[in-house]
C-alpha cells in the first residue's frame, strides 16, 4: 500500500509536516512498496494514536457498566454487517471501545490498572475489544508480598515477585495506586503522606514506591513504574506530588526512558486547604517537570459532563460518594488492592470543577517539552476518551480557551493562571503528545512512529494543516480529528470517514521478565503460605492462561536471558 502526498508528522523520526509518500508491506512500514494507493494530498498524516492510560477493561469497568444502565442507554448503535452493537458513553461495551478508538484514529490503548487476581477478567474483555492493540498494567502498590519484601529490604525477592506477578497477570508494567492507602482502607483509614506507615506492615508509601522503582529498573522493564500519587484529588496535594517525585530523583533508569510516569497529573496539582480556597498549583508542578528529567506525566484532563470515576484508590471513591451522594461501589481485592466506582457529573458552574478543568490544560501548556506530557482524560474518570478532540482543540486554540472560560465561574481567573497563558500547541506537539511520546514512555519501539519496521498504524485526517488556522478554526479542527478520514491498523484500512470497514483482532502486549531461579525459589514458600492461608483461590488457579491471550505479543525483559521457569 502507498499513501501519497500527505503532510506527515512523525516526531520520532524528526519529520514535522513534510509532504511525503508512505509505504506499507505486510503490516509494517517499509522503504518501498507497491499495491493499493491512497491519495492523501495535502492532508494531515500521523502515526496511529496511542493511549497510555485509560480504564477500558476489567472488573471495575464492568462494575461501572452494571451500576450505570442509564449510561448504556447513551450512544447506542445497532449492529451492522461489520460491527456488533455499541452501547454506553462513559462505560461503553467492549466492541464500542474498539470502534470508537479506531474512528478517532487511535490504534493502541493500555488498560491502566488490573490486580493480578482479576487479570483474567481484564484479558477476557481486552480480547473482545476489536481492532486496537492493547495491554494492561498490573497493580503492585498495596500488595502484601510487595510490602513484606520492602519491609525486609529484599530487593531481589521483590524483583522476583514483580516478574512472577506480571507473568501471572500477563501484565505489561508496574502500576502503583495510592501505595499503602488501599491496604489501610481495609482498616477504614488512609495514609496521609508518603511517610505515614501502613497499618500492620511497618512500611511507608515512600519505601514501597522506591522499592518498586528499583525492582522495575532491576528487571529492565520496557515501561517505568506508573504512579497514582497518595492524596490524589485532595486540596493542597501538590506538596505530596513534589515530595514523591523527589524520592525517585536518584534512581538510574535501565532504559532510555523516564524513571516514573505520573498518571493523571491533573488530580494531584491542587493547592488550598479545603474546597473553599481550592486553587491550581499547576505552575509549581510544571516547573518541577521542566527542571527534572526523571518523570513524565499524562494530563488526566477533566471535561464537563458525565464521567464515571473508577480507581483502585478506594478511600478516594468513598470521599467522592460522600460528596456527591451518588451510587458507590466499594471493592476489596484480597491481598492486593481495594477499589471503588462512583458516577460523576462535572459542571462548568461549579468552581472546583472549573479549576480542575483549568489545571489539566495549564499542566500541558506550561511544561515546555511535549515529550513529558501525554494527552489523556484518564478515561472515564475525567471524561470519556471520545472527547480527546475537545482536549486537543483546547490546547491548540487560545480563543477557544477564552470562550470557554468566559462561560465559567468569575472566580476562576483568580484560582488559576490559565487565562494568561498565550501558548498554543501545534501539530508537532499534538503528534508527540498523542503518538510518539506515549509509545516511547510505554517502551513500544514499533508504535507511535512511521520509520521502516514500525507497525503500519496510520491516521489520515481530513484537514489540510498548511491551510487551516488551528487557533481560529478550532471547530473545524475538532470535527476533522473526531472522525479520521482513514485509520490504518497493521496495514489494513479499518475505518474510513467514521465507517468501520473491518474488525481485525488487536494484539495484547505483556512482559515476561526473567529472574534468577534462586530468587523465585526463595519467593515461592511465601506465596504458598499466603494462598493456603488467605487467598480465596488456589495458587494453581491463579495465573492467567495463554488461552486468554490468543493474539499475545510477549516482550522479554529481566535480569538474565534465561526464561523464567514454569511455576509448579
Amino acid at each position: 500500500m502507498i499513501i501519497r502526498g500527505g503532510i506527515v508528522y512523525d516526531p520520532s523520526n524528526g519529520i514535522f509536516g513534510e509532504e511525503m509518500d508512505l509505504f506499507i508491506d505486510r503490516g509494517k512500514m517499509v522503504e518501498e512498496a507497491r499495491g493499493e494507493e491512497i491519495d492523501a494530498s495535502g492532508l494531515l498524516v500521523m502515526p496511529g494514536g496511542v493511549d497510555a492510560h485509560a480504564h477500558i477493561a476489567g472488573k471495575k469497568v464492568n462494575t461501572g457498566r452494571i451500576m450505570r444502565p442509564d449510561d448504556s442507554r447513551l450512544g447506542t448503535e445497532p449492529r451492522n454487517g461489520v460491527c456488533r452493537p455499541s452501547t454506553g458513553y462513559t462505560v461503553p461495551n467492549c466492541y464500542a471501545m474498539g470502534y470508537r478508538y479506531a474512528r478517532m484514529g487511535y490504534t493502541t490503548a493500555f488498560e491502566a490498572a488490573t490486580p493480578i487476581l482479576e487479570a483474567r477478567h481484564t484479558h477476557e474483555e481486552l480480547q473482545e475489544i476489536p481492532i486496537i492493540d492493547k495491554g494492561a498494567l498490573t497493580l503492585f502498590g498495596n500488595n502484601w508480598q510487595v510490602m513484606e519484601c520492602v519491609r525486609d529490604k529484599d530487593l531481589s525477592k521483590l524483583a522476583a515477585y514483580v516478574a512472577w506477578g506480571l507473568r501471572s497477570a500477563r501484565g505489561y508494567g508496574v502500576k502503583i495506586v495510592n501505595p499503602g492507602g488501599g491496604e489501610s482502607w481495609g482498616f477504614g483509614t488512609n495514609v496521609k503522606s508518603v511517610n505515614d506507615p501502613v497499618p500492620n506492615f511497618d512500611v511507608t508509601p515512600a519505601e514501597i514506591i522506591r522499592g518498586l522503582a528499583q525492582a522495575n529498573e532491576l528487571l529492565h522493564l520496557p515501561h517505568s513504574i506508573h504512579l497514582h500519587f497518595n492524596n490524589l484529588g485532595k486540596p493542597g496535594n501538590y506538596t505530596t506530588a513534589i515530595e514523591t517525585l523527589d524520592l525517585l530523583k536518584d534512581i538510574k533508569p535501565s532504559r532510555m526512558r523516564q524513571v516514573v510516569h505520573v498518571a493523571h497529573m491533573q488530580f494531584s496539582a491542587y493547592g488550598g486547604t479545603g474546597w473553599r480556597d481550592f486553587e491550581s498549583k499547576a505552575p509549581v508542578i510544571a516547573d518541577y517537570f521542566n527542571s527534572h528529567n526523571h518523570a513524565t506525566m499524562d494530563m488526566g484532563q477533566l471535561l464537563f459532563g458525565s464521567a464515571t470515576t473508577m480507581t483502585a484508590d478506594a478511600p478516594l471513591e468513598y470521599g467522592n460518594a460522600r460528596l456527591t451522594h451518588n451510587k458507590w461501589s466499594n471493592h476489596d481485592i484480597e491481598l492486593e488492592e481495594s477499589s471503588g466506582v462512583v458516577p460523576m457529573i462535572y459542571s462548568r458552574k461549579m468552581l472546583v470543577n472549573a479549576v480542575q478543568w483549568a489545571v489539566g490544560l495549564e499542566l500541558a501548556l506550561l511544561v515546555d517539552d511535549p515529550w513529558k506530557v501525554l494527552m489523556t482524560t484518564d478515561h472515564p474518570n475525567g471524561s470519556p476518551f471520545v472527547n480527546y478532540p475537545e482536549v486537543v482543540t483546547l490546547l491548540m486554540s487560545k480563543p477557544k480557551r477564552d470562550a470557554e472560560m468566559a462561560s465559567m465561574h468569575e472566580q476562576l481567573q483568580k484560582r488559576t493562571g490559565l487565562g494568561e497563558i498565550q501558548r498554543e500547541l501545534d501539530w508537532a506537539d499534538i503528534a508527540i503528545m498523542t503518538r510518539a511520546a506515549p509509545a516511547r514512555i510505554l517502551g513500544l519501539p514499533d508504535k507511535g512512529h512511521l520509520g521502516p519496521g514500525a507497525d503500519a498504524d496510520i491516521t489520515i485526517y481530513n484537514l489540510k494543516p498548511e491551510e487551516l488556522d488551528t487557533s481560529q478554526d478550532h471547530s473545524l479542527v475538532k470535527k476533522a480529528i473526531s472522525t479520521a478520514m482513514y485509520t490504518i491498523k497493521g496495514g489494513v484500512v479499518v475505518s474510513k470517514d467514521g465507517k468501520i470497514l473491518c474488525t481485525p483482532p488487536g494484539r495484547a502486549f505483556w512482559v515476561d521478565a526473567a529472574v534468577p531461579q534462586a530468587d523465585t525459589d526463595r519467593l515461592m514458600p511465601d506465596l504458598q503460605e499466603k494462598f493456603a492461608k488467605y487467598y480465596s483461590i488456589q495458587l494453581s488457579n491463579y495465573a492467567v492462561q495463554d488461552a486468554y491471550l490468543p493474539h499475545a505479543n510477549v516482550i522479554r525483559a529481566g535480569l538474565s536471558i534465561e526464561p523464567l521457569q514454569e511455576v509448579a
Binding site: P69, D70, R73, N326
Partner: protein, 256 residues
C-alpha cells in the same frame, strides 16, 4: 386542527416499538411520508403502513395543531408519543409500555389502560389515563437518578408499584389505589393517591405525597400534627429520616 387516525392491521403477538407515532414526527410530513416512518416489530425493521392503516388530512401542519387518534388495541405498541413537545394523541383503547416517555408538552390521553413506565422521565405536558396504569408511572428508567421533572399525570383507575420513583418535579394523581412503594426517592414532586397503598415515600428527600386511603407508614417517618386539606383531616409525617429528608407525607385519617 389536522387529524390523523391510525389503526392496527392485526393483533400484534410480538410487540411493536413505535416512537415515531408522535405529533412532532408527523407534523412536517404528508400522509404518504408518514406511512413510511420506521417502526420495529421484535428485531424486524418495518414501516408504519406495514402494521397500521394511516388516514387523515394530507397537508403538513405545525405540531401543536396535530391530533393523532389511535383507534383499536395498542396495548402491545410501545413508546407512543416519545419525546412529544406539543399537539395531542388520543389512544382510544389501551397503550403499551413507555407511552409518553420524555414528553415535554402536549396532551396524551388514554381511554383504556396504560402499561408500565407510563410517562417515565416526563418533562412537561399532560397525560390522562381513564383506566389503570402499570408499574413505574413517571419513574426514572434503570439507573437514572431523576424520573419525571415536570408536567401532570392523572390516572383515574389504579396504578402499579413504584409510582413516581425518583420523582424530581411535576405532579401525579391516582384516583384509585397505588401499588407498593409510591414516591420512592422522591426529590421534589407531588403525588396524590385517592385509594390505599403500601410504604409510601421510602428514601424521599423532598416533595409531597398525599394518601387519602389506608397505608402503612415506614418507621423512619416522624409523626407531626393533623392537617386539613380540602376539608379532610390528614395525619402529617416528615421523612424519610434515613435520608435526612424534608419530604411531607399526608395520610388520610379514617372516619370511624
Amino acid at each position: 386542527m389536522r387529524s390523523i387516525v391510525i389503526a392496527p392491521r392485526n393483533v400484534f403477538c410480538i410487540s411493536v416499538e413505535a416512537e415515531n407515532i408522535s405529533p412532532d414526527r408527523f407534523a412536517p410530513l404528508k400522509i404518504e411520508e408518514i406511512k413510511k416512518l420506521i417502526v420495529w416489530q421484535g428485531n424486524r425493521q418495518k414501516i408504519l403502513s406495514d402494521l397500521f392503516t394511516v388516514d387523515g388530512e394530507d397537508s403538513p401542519s405545525k405540531a401543536e395543531d396535530m391530533a393523532i387518534r389511535l383507534s383499536g388495541d395498542f396495548s402491545n405498541v410501545k413508546r407512543i408519543g416519545e419525546g412529544m413537545t406539543s399537539g395531542a394523541i388520543e389512544v382510544q383503547g389501551s397503550a403499551g409500555m413507555h407511552a409518553g416517555n420524555h414528553m415535554s408538552g402536549g396532551i396524551l390521553s388514554i381511554a383504556g389502560n396504560a402499561d408500565d413506565w407510563l410517562a417515565r422521565e416526563m418533562l412537561g405536558g399532560r397525560v390522562v389515563v381513564m383506566g389503570d396504569a402499570g408499574n413505574y408511572v413517571g419513574a426514572g428508567y434503570r439507573g437514572e437518578k431523576c424520573g419525571m421533572r415536570g408536567g401532570e399525570i392523572e390516572v383515574r383507575g389504579n396504578a402499579g408499584a413504584y409510582l413516581g420513583e425518583h420523582l424530581c418535579g411535576g405532579s401525579i394523581r391516582v384516583g384509585g389505589n397505588a401499588g407498593d412503594f409510591p414516591g420512592a426517592a422522591n426529590q421534589g414532586g407531588t403525588i396524590f393517591i385517592g385509594g390505599s397503598t403500601y410504604l409510601p415515600g421510602a428514601e424521599m428527600s423532598k416533595g409531597t405525597i398525599n394518601v387519602r386511603g389506608e397505608t402503612k407508614v415506614l418507621p423512619s417517618f416522624q409523626k407531626m400534627e393533623i392537617a386539613q386539606i380540602d376539608g379532610t383531616d390528614y395525619q402529617k409525617y416528615l421523612g424519610d429520616l434515613l435520608e435526612n429528608g424534608k419530604g411531607e407525607l399526608f395520610v388520610g385519617v379514617a372516619v370511624p
